[in-house]
């Protein structure tokens, strides 16, 4: 979708954190990405390499951790986990599921020098 904007968001957070914690280099940056976040990982990796140039995270390794997709089934009224946005309810087979999580896009932590 807008991986360039996401990379710019990451850069802003890196710069804020560098000021707050007084580090000059990020060696590893770990993201948590929900299954429903719609993030195209190769596109984000590419954007990350480009956008981090000249920042403390230039050359940092990027690791992405998948978070499960969670939804409320409007047929059996139970919270469920699904892999695919259009998957049926794993409990009752119903097709009306409202996502309740899995759209996360956040920085979990950074390894810094």
């Amino acid at each position: 979708m807008h991986e360039m904007s996401l990379a710019e968001g990451i850069r802003g957070i890196v710069l804020d954190q560098a000021r707050a914690h007084g580090f000059t280099r990020v060696t590893l940056l770990r993201l948590e990405i929900g299954r429903f976040a719609g993030v195209e990982k190769p596109a984000l990796e590419f954007a990350f390499d480009v956008v981090m140039r000249g920042s403390p995270a230039e050359g940092a390794r990027l690791e992405m951790i998948d978070l499960p997709g969670r939804a409320m089934c409007y047929d059996c009224l139970k919270p469920v986990e699904i892999d695919d946005r259009l998957a049926p309810c794993p409990l009752c087979g119903g097709g009306r599921l409202l996502p309740e999580g899995g759209d996360e896009m956040r920085i979990r932590d950074m390894e810094v020098l």
Partner: protein
Amino acid sequence: MCTVCGCNDVVTADGRKMTHDEAHALGLDHHHDHGHSHDHGHDHPHHGETAHHHVLDDHPHDHRHYGEGPAGVSVPGMSQARLIEVETSILAKNDALAQSNRRVLNALGVLAVNLVSSPGSGKTTLLCKTIQALGDAPLAVIEGDQQTSVDADRIRATGARAMQINTGKGCHLDAQMVGHAIDELRPRTASYLFIENVGNLVCPAAFDLGEDAKVAILSVTEGEDKPLKYPDMFTAARLAILNKIDLAPHTDADIAAYEANLRRVNPRIEIIRVSARTGEGMDQWLHWLKSRLEAKAA
């Protein structure tokens, strides 16, 4: 095998794959892509003056270095690299600006509606007709497009105040752009603010602008499966307007299938069938707007 560190893995240097010793020979900065643990996450310069980073991985393969960190010494119990817990959303900055917009709009009792759709669904025509139908109700419009002020010109022709935002290469409006537009437009108290987003069913779903509701416009010529193809937008929307309903009898459009697919991706979505051209369904849409503005301004 690399003559420098004895590793024979493929690395990424200068955006391309090559063997480790090639990277050293060429003097390129490179990343190791191999899956074994070096148990350190620090920068690791060899004699060749080429900086590279070892990848931390779960693969059990013991291979430890000491005293090669920036300080050049090993201090037991003290890692040269630190781990900082961040736990911050990548869009945190946008979300904070959106909250700030929301506070301003709430204080003014302004109802902000973020109109989202594919290009060509009839957003601008619907908006022009809506403005005419609202008569002298105070309102303002923010128009988002990659280029041109054509849409803002169309809105201004109705007599409404409008501001055009050109996003350039950008595929969506963000909270900062909208915040600046709110400052310029200075919406009146108890008024409507219509934000016509860039025609795009993907990116605008993720960007909160501080609006009260996203309204997705879907025209009956776009295909019944569109909500399934682009579920995020229809999940984020409070209301779907099924526009150009006057064309339905002339096409093979299956209106029941449109609505079933909308409810499949968002069981809570409200749906109004509208034709901006003939005026069908406009009363229902205007009632939706008026009742929300009254609730907000109360």
